[in-house]
């Protein structure tokens, strides 16, 4: 069974350490989620998506059960929604669920699908959703309702967005540790290309990341441009995600986790 500390990216861990020290933040967000958003979204899922269970889409359900067991989190509800874009997301702290787009089910094999599920389970294990809801609240109160002035809410949002990108690395580590880094790279390649057939070389994104880093660091101007673009992203670039796991695969933590999970 995995522990949050085993997979957390250092920068994600540091941000969580800081967030956990804010008094009542945990409890407040958890309550807002449990009685508010979780129930709203569950209703929406039940109304607009297909729920996987032993009778409907049993394979997806079984894969979810196996993945959750490997990661060591309670099995979340799984929903499949109609979308040609390959994507998945999770929500919930008390009653968790994972939604997977139909194209993922169609184009990924069982291993890759489990890897995708493990990524979402990683978010659950690290309690990312809880703190992600802070971003949502700040943005909501800042941008839309105007309770928090824009001058205050925007730097906060950018800082939390930075953490959000780091939290993806932790979830990626969870996926790679659960299913192996090669499966992870295959999954990433499929997610990036949107293709079912990606050939035999899963490390294209890692090589591309090196090329991207050369481009990014070519001049100060390039660096500023790329970083400004990235500042508003909720997820790191796909090549960087592939690259980070390629770096992490040599670590003691990865090897130890793989040994314990095989």
């Amino acid at each position: 069974m995995m522990k949050y500390q085993d997979i957390a990216h250092p920068e994600d861990r540091k941000a969580l350490q800081v967030l956990q020290k804010v008094p009542l933040l945990d409890e407040g967000c958890r309550n807002i989620m449990e009685y508010g958003y979780e129930r709203i979204f569950r209703g929406e899922n039940l109304a607009t998506m297909v729920k996987a269970n032993a009778g409907s889409m049993p394979v997806v359900y079984q894969l979810m059960e196996a993945t959750a067991q490997k990661v060591g989190v309670p099995t979340p509800e799984v929903y499949v929604y109609n979308d040609p874009v390959m994507n998945a997301f999770t929500y919930g702290e008390t009653n968790t669920f994972i939604c997977i787009s139909s194209s993922c089910i169609e184009k990924m094999n069982d291993e890759e699908l489990m890897c995708l599920m493990a990524h979402e389970c990683g978010h659950i294990l690290c309690h990312h959703v809880l703190y992600n809801s802070v971003i949502a609240v700040i943005r909501e109160w800042g941008e839309r309702i105007g309770v928090i002035p824009w001058s205050l809410s925007s730097p906060l949002t950018l800082a939390l967005q930075y953490w959000c990108r780091r939290s993806e690395y932790s979830a990626d580590r969870c996926a790679a540790a659960t299913m192996g880094e090669k499966v992870f790279q295959r999954m990433m390649l499929k997610l990036t290309s949107g293709l079912a057939d990606i050939g035999d070389d899963p490390y294209q994104l890692v090589r591309q990341a090196k090329e991207y880093h050369l481009h990014e660091n070519a001049t100060l101007w390039d660096k500023i441009q790329q970083n400004c673009r990235m500042a508003f992203y909720s997820h790191p670039q796909m090549v960087n995600r592939a690259y980070e796991i390629d770096r992490w695969k040599v670590s003691y933590a990865y090897k130890k986790l793989r040994q314990s999970l095989i």
């Binding site: 522990k3 800081v18 670590s251």
Partner: protein, 249 residues
């Protein structure tokens, strides 16, 4: 890493001691990641920690140097920190170690620092414990009292470095036990995911888990003080090994 002759010896230290130094630089006394550390995301950390620490000695030295300098000043030094010598000097000043001059060698300053740490530790020890340390280390010709042990330390530092090393090590171990009994050292060391790594260097062990005798957790020095004491302890061991080899040859 900015070339620093005083830190070159790190490449010859054992894995456990380097790991303890690394843990001091990466984790605070609660086992949480230090917000300003940059080691844990480095390639060398990923590939070397915790079994091949010699492979990252340069990064450890560079990180220690960075902690020892003002962040803004480090920017003007192209991201490098000051020389280790000036870090030890600052630490000695902060800890009120007497007779330390700016032109002393780093090793000299470290030894004075270790003696100061030990004499502070002695205040925590009973007469029986002092006697036990002195007997175990074969210190003869001195009273079995705090003053006697301190006098022996000061003399042995110059006369017999091996005995000096044994005495320092014994005192630090004894202090560790006292702190543990009093509950000052937390039993939850296992909370650190790398677990026993922290248990290895006695000095790192004490300091990482909450040194309460001194105010060493002030904002500017909460890393450099324990790190310098650990480096001092490692150098002492290294020197002792060198001397032993020379004698054998």
């Amino acid at each position: 890493m900015k070339t620093d002759m005083d830190l070159q010896f790190l490449q010859y230290c054992n894995n456990e001691d380097l790991r303890a130094l690394c843990d001091i630089l990466v984790y605070d006394n609660k086992g949480e990641l230090r917000l300003s550390e940059s080691l844990s995301i480095s390639d060398s950390y990923l590939s070397c920690y915790p079994d091949n620490m010699k492979g990252m000695w340069r990064d450890l030295a560079a990180e220690l140097q960075c902690y020892g300098g003002n962040t803004l000043m480090n920017l003007f030094r192209h991201g490098h920190g000051p020389k280790y010598e000036s870090i030890v000097y600052d630490v000695c000043q902060k800890m009120g170690v007497e007779n330390v001059g700016k032109h002393d060698t780093a090793e000299d300053m470290e030894q004075k620092l270790l003696i100061a740490v030990s004499s502070k530790a002695m205040e925590e020890m009973t007469e029986e414990q002092i006697r036990a340390v002195m007997e175990e280390c074969g210190v003869k010709g001195y009273d079995y009292t705090r003053t006697g042990l301190l006098a022996a330390l000061l003399t042995l530092r110059l006369v017999n470095k091996r005995v000096f090393a044994y005495v320092i090590e014994a005192i630090l171990k004894m202090l560790m036990e006292i702190l543990m009994v009093r509950g000052i050292i937390r039993a939850g060391l296992g909370l650190l995911s790398r677990g026993v790594g922290v248990l290895c260097g006695p000095v790192g062990w004490i300091i990482l888990t909450g040194w309460t005798l001194w105010d060493i957790m002030g904002p500017a020095y909460r890393v450099t003080i324990p790190a310098v004491i650990q480096v001092a302890y490692m150098r002492m061991k290294y020197q002792e090994k060198l001397n032993r080899n020379e004698e054998a040859a």
